[in-house]
Subunit: 166 residues, 4 copies
């Protein structure tokens, strides 16, 4: 496989993993819409999806998706050693590696995205409520932060572009 | 002046500047109480103040306070060159150096503070509402983020310590 | 002035400030060449310049340039209040706001740039040696870190693009 | 198990994992000595060890150690799914999650540690040379960055404390 094919494979698998774990681009686009509609009255879901797709096209974001979802799946399969297995299974409150990974996504579009990330992480609208539902038996300790971070980064991208083309 | 006296002077001036700009330790402690009361039902304002004071005792935090307030004051005095003068005077939405400075404070107590920072930055409870009131003619482009960041960092510190002593 | 003109003005002034303070795009491109030549034997100065220019085209980077150079100039003019004036004049070793600003630049192209930033900050090749020469009476406490950060970010950009087009 | 015992267990396992992977506190202390001896002529290995131990006592650092080493071990056991398995096995140059985790350690003692981190990551003195030796069949994609980050954080801690007690 050439290097270019390998890179395309990283993006393809990252997108597949999101779907397999129940997250569609439209779900993340809805978070962007929730965060940005008050600032951009003419905002469409199409624009939100476009910005989400551009964020997912970044290699840094794909790496975070692959690594975070892998740890979530290994936790569900009880394949991690203790105490990490329990820490991730209960989404222990002093464990911050999930947030650390999320910030590496938000950072790509600059610091203005951090506020949005913190806000939806606390409010848990849309898909984030489902990912945080502990009653399903699924583990999304990393994925919920990654999804919030992609939405926050896409919001920053949208804000930067709106200003450049007005 | 010895080096130790100089260090003490940095902390003393940082604390004086906060007061001069209308921010008391109790104001920041109220933000911590707002963020943490649901997780710690027995939480007192005394504990919140203690944690805020420990955050302000950090050199990194004092540096951010001195630098941010200096830029706010120079903006009020119209002593900056353009376009920075206008960017800071209107708290321009694509300017993120204020958030960058704030994160350097939040970071000190680990990543679990970022959510709290983003949340109060969006909700603007207590002192943050006043610092964001543009009708006063004052400029708090940096200070409002710094105050939110100290509250978020103090909340992280409190969360870490609560867990260690339970 | 329309919003688009204002944005163009931010970039134009940021570029002018760099020149006024003695930093040409070619100086930063040389740092990129220094960092990357071993990994890319066919690397040209033209490619290095192109990548530096793309980094400077980012709004986040322009904000850091404008803010950092403003503080350097105010320090030279002795217009800051104490103890900040002295801290910046002597580039005091526990003051880290200059590094914090620099990381906000490096971050834009992902974490792989941090190693390069730390390395040239320690080695001080080319333009960085001159910016750190205290005998000139000039103050470049912020600018030297910003220049190193732009070079590190441009190196990351180059590394990402080299891989995508091979 | 009480919560306090659980916390102590996290630290105990983190320390055991480091040893099992061939990293002693003394190895990291030597990196600190390498970084700091020129600034502190009277520096002893005892002080370096003390500072390394204080860094490892931080929960954020323990979380990074447990998570990073787990991923390294799963890579050696070929238990990760593709393409993550290959990316980690070859320490692929565009993969930056290892650096992201490392920065969460460096950050705790403020921004002055980043330069040191970047420098030893490039120079690879002492233990870092061995961890990067690909001929052993071992995978230390995360561990080498974590060890460098602990050394950089311990150096920052040492610098802060030296100044406060002089």
């Amino acid at each position: 496989m050439s290097e270019k094919e390998q890179l395309n494979q990283v993006e393809a698998v990252a997108r597949t993993r999101l779907k397999e774990r129940g997250v569609e681009v439209a779900d993340i686009a809805e978070l962007v819409f929730f965060l940005q509609k008050q600032y951009h009255p003419d905002l469409t879901m199409e624009e939100c999806k476009l910005n989400v797709n551009r964020v997912i096209a970044k290699r840094e974001v794909q790496n975070a998706i692959l690594t975070g979802i892998e740890l979530d799946m290994l936790t569900e399969q009880k394949k991690l050693s203790e105490p990490l297995q329990t820490i991730l299974a209960i989404d222990e409150s002093l464990y911050g590696v999930d947030e650390v990974l999320a910030f590496s996504i938000v950072n790509i579009y600059g610091s203005i995205g951090f506020t949005n990330y913190g806000y939806i992480d606390k409010e848990k609208p849309g898909i984030l409520a489902r990912l945080n539902d502990k009653s399903t038996g699924e583990c999304h300790t990393f994925l919920d932060d990654i999804v919030g971070a992609i939405a926050a980064a896409a919001s920053s991208r949208l804000a930067h572009h709106a200003r450049n083309t007005e």
